[in-house]
């Protein structure tokens, strides 16, 4: 726990984005996580993504559950409303928030304990409803705040810091997200900011349930030999299927790749994803193919990262519910109350 208050001043020549904000305007208070924690790199990637997207910080709502990962919303986007809810229940709170005001950007931050154990049900149902959100799991395979117990994403056969071998099968959140109908599914690594930042940007612009499983090593409890979530292990076994460049609407596209190596995916808002294919036969629009490929590579002990699946014509929960365009939290008596005249008619029909 640190008590240092982060100073507000910054260098006058710090670059500003289109809104006149500097990178510092997207920061939060100083992190209280362990030095070197993967989660801090993810926070930094979120900050960079929001800065580069020119998002007004107050138009983002950041929600989390409980755990190390769920603490991180305090460390980015200090001008946004944040909600550190209860363990494993961020998805329902986010769903409700999203229903109340469809105009904000919802960033759900969770961990592997929060999502794959106590919150597995809520994760599944928020994904299957197609809530328009970015759902990031900061996945380290271990319970950090309670000091080193295995989580449900710990691989079978991996070893804890105390030398205990995990005999339980692991939960593959990517496989679940695909099966449950997430329309944007990616896996990344906290140690690869160049990959992670464009993925976050694309997920923010995606309308629908966007899920990012981000392997984020725990330096205190899960970064030793025998762990499959350590920096070294992930670097050695990382199989990157594609690299993503995110381009805002109307940005010119420079194509300097051979045919088949680059694909431009247009999102609903006109923004484009330029996918540099590292595996030319990997098609991120082929859900069944992706599922099979991911299972095969996982079996071979590899960690596939990149944009794994994106649906071209995605829609979201508000679309399914056919709600009005105006946020529900802006409606008043005029729009909501049927009035005394209608009530008189209702009364008459009940006699």
């Amino acid at each position: 726990m640190t008590y240092i208050v982060k100073p507000k001043f910054h260098h006058p020549s710090l670059p500003v984005n289109e809104l006149g904000f500097t990178h510092r305007d997207y920061e939060g208070s100083i992190s209280t996580l362990c030095a070197g924690c993967g989660h801090d790199s993810i926070s930094a990637a979120i900050i960079q993504a929001c800065f580069e997207l020119n998002l007004p910080p107050h138009r983002v709502a950041k929600l989390s559950g409980i755990g190390c990962s769920s603490k991180t919303p305090t460390y980015f986007l200090g001008s946004s409303h944040g909600f550190n809810s209860v363990h494993g229940r961020m998805p329902s709170v986010l769903t409700g928030a999203n229903l109340a005001n469809r105009d904000l950007i919802y960033l759900g931050v969770s961990g592997d304990g929060d999502t794959a154990s106590i919150g597995l049900g809520q994760f599944a149902h928020a994904i299957r409803r197609g809530v328009n959100m970015v759902y990031i799991v900061e996945n380290n395979g271990v319970y950090g705040l309670t000091k080193g117990q295995f989580s449900a994403t710990a691989d079978r056969g991996s070893k804890s810091k105390r030398g205990v071998v995990n005999n339980d099968n692991s939960i593959d959140l990517i496989a679940m997200a695909l099966q449950l109908g997430a329309t944007f599914v990616a896996r990344s690594f906290s140690g690869d900011k160049a990959q992670l930042v464009p993925l976050i940007k694309a997920a923010v612009e995606h309308r629908g349930a966007a899920f990012i499983d981000c392997i984020s090593p725990c330096v205190a409890f899960n970064n030793h030999p025998g762990s499959t979530k350590s920096f070294d292990y992930v670097r050695e076994h990382n199989e990157v299927v594609n690299r993503l460049d995110f381009m805002p609407p109307r940005a010119p596209i420079h194509v300097d790749y051979k045919p088949g190596e680059l694909e431009i995916v247009e999102q609903h808002d006109g923004s484009k994803l330029a996918l540099r294919k590292l595996h030319t036969d990997y098609d991120p629009h082929d859900k069944l193919g992706a599922m099979t490929y991911l299972q095969e590579r996982a079996h071979a002990g590899e960690i596939v990262t990149g944009l794994l699946y994106v649906e071209r014509e995605a829609d979201d929960l508000h679309h399914h519910l056919d709600t009005v365009e105006r946020p529900l939290n802006e409606l008043g008596e005029k729009e909501l109350c049927p009035g005394a005249g209608t009530l008189a008619k209702i009364n008459a029909s009940l006699r």
């Binding site: 409303h81 209860v86 009530l343």
Partner: protein, 611 residues
Amino acid sequence: MPIERVNDFVVRFANVNGSGSASANQLFARAVLRMGVPVAPRNIFPSNIQGLPTWYEVRITEAGHLGARGGVDLMVAMNPQTWDKDVASIEPGGYLFYDSTKPLQASKFRTDVTVVGMPLTAICNREYTDPRQRQLFKNIMYVGALTALLDMDVDAVEKLIGEEFKGKDKLIAPNVKALHIGRDYALKNLTCPLGLRVKRADAVGDRIYIEGNSAAALGAVYGGATVCAWYPITPSSSLAEAFTRHCARYRVDPETGKNRYAIIQAEDELASLGIVVGAAWNGARAFTATSGPGISLMQEFLGLAYFAEIPAVLFDVQRGGPSTGMPTRTQQSDIVLAAYASHGDTKHVLLFPEDPAEAFEFGATAFDLADRLQTPIFVMLDLDIGMNHRLCRPLAWDEKRVYDRGKVMTAAELDSGKDFGRYLDVDGDGIPYRTYPGTHPTRGSFFTRGSTRDRYARYTEEGGPYVDNMQRLLRKFETAKGLVPRPLRRDADKPTRYGVIYYGSTSPAMDEAIVELAERGHRLDMLRVRGFPFHQDVSDFIVDHDFVFVVEQNRDAQLRTLLVNEQNLDPVRLVPVLHYDGTPITARFIARAIAEHLDALKITPLRKVVS
């Protein structure tokens, strides 16, 4: 001697669940109502879709006693499974109507009741070939027979059939035909009318006939709820379903055809309340409908909503507990659970509607209270109010009424330099200001959490700010006392040392019991509690009397527990009167229990013993 009564008796239909009897039975009740005679119908149904016994009881009561009475004057025994019990439950001198197609031994009957047999199955088999038709029209046929036996207005029934099948006009004629087959058989072959008769009257007035769950859902529509998240559970499911129906009718934007509401059938009760909390945090009016087991599951979120101060409305349609308990029976047994829900020091605001009219009123008001107090509000219904049609005063809405959105700081106020501290008590009422997410680019944002924080919502683990915050929450609870619906007091015609406190669905039985007690020479002042925390009037009422009976529908005297706990009152003066077998409390039960106590007091003045 056979009972002779006009407009004051109880008919009970014993049926098999899933046999289509419900609509025929309701038709009967409505027909009585259309004759200007109040009815109080009650479903006594199993946790089952098909095959188990189900009963429908109609109390016909020109005097307007809407509570359950107890006992049966006319049994329409259509279920062989429950024959013995059904026959045994008839009052001496009562009547038994049954299907006489299959002869029964004499030992199956009672000699002190009038037996009316009609070969319903035989008639149906003669008239219809389709098995489903035989089943459904048998039900209408016994209603037809009853119109003759009880000397009812058959036109009223015919008119109702016409209204019921409006739009499915093909069904009208066959139903009317079946009605007349039954009626004609009875007129020709049975002694009509019986000693029990329905006589046209003018005792209904402008009252409406509605289920509490439907009225509460309408209250949510009028109260401005836009988000509903729920998980199916008896007896509350019909509340969320009614909200869905009402919204489809009254909440669609006429220009775009799009919905001004969002309803989610969640994966469980935890998620239901999570969605409500998220929506309310973000400035929408949101609610869930559930029952005791659901409230048990919602404990964690209730603690969060209490501590993080998020408005939420919960309709708790209570049933028999604990555990799965009696899912299709009524109780008032979630009072303590709701009042102190969640771990740590928590207290919640409860409202106790007595009938559908108050379910509507409190259902709407709950949203104002939730926003004003920034805390969960429980509307404590029960199965008896929620799932039965009840005659009540017309629903009322003041056209000038505006929603009280509570203390919400706007962008303009933030710009003007107003000090914003999410947990800062600026007005001394314990209620701080909040901001909706997305209000202002640089001001007014804060972090909501269930862990301790200071007045400006900054995380802290210091004892001082924690205690400061907990004390403010108590001040807020004090403020709530003046905002929840006040208790209603009704004094006896002469001063008395005895009082009675009651709440919720006990109301009609209590009203009737007080008359019975007066006839036996017992005078009591009455106080109907309508909200928790208790208003000062509640303490005053108890102090004004030597003994106060607290009538409840649970085993552990839960409201009495709250009275003792929260008002620091002497428990000896609060005498529990408890009914908790799952059936609705009756005037007979209350009057007997209170009279026994009072008679005992007459013999040995308890006051002297105590002092």
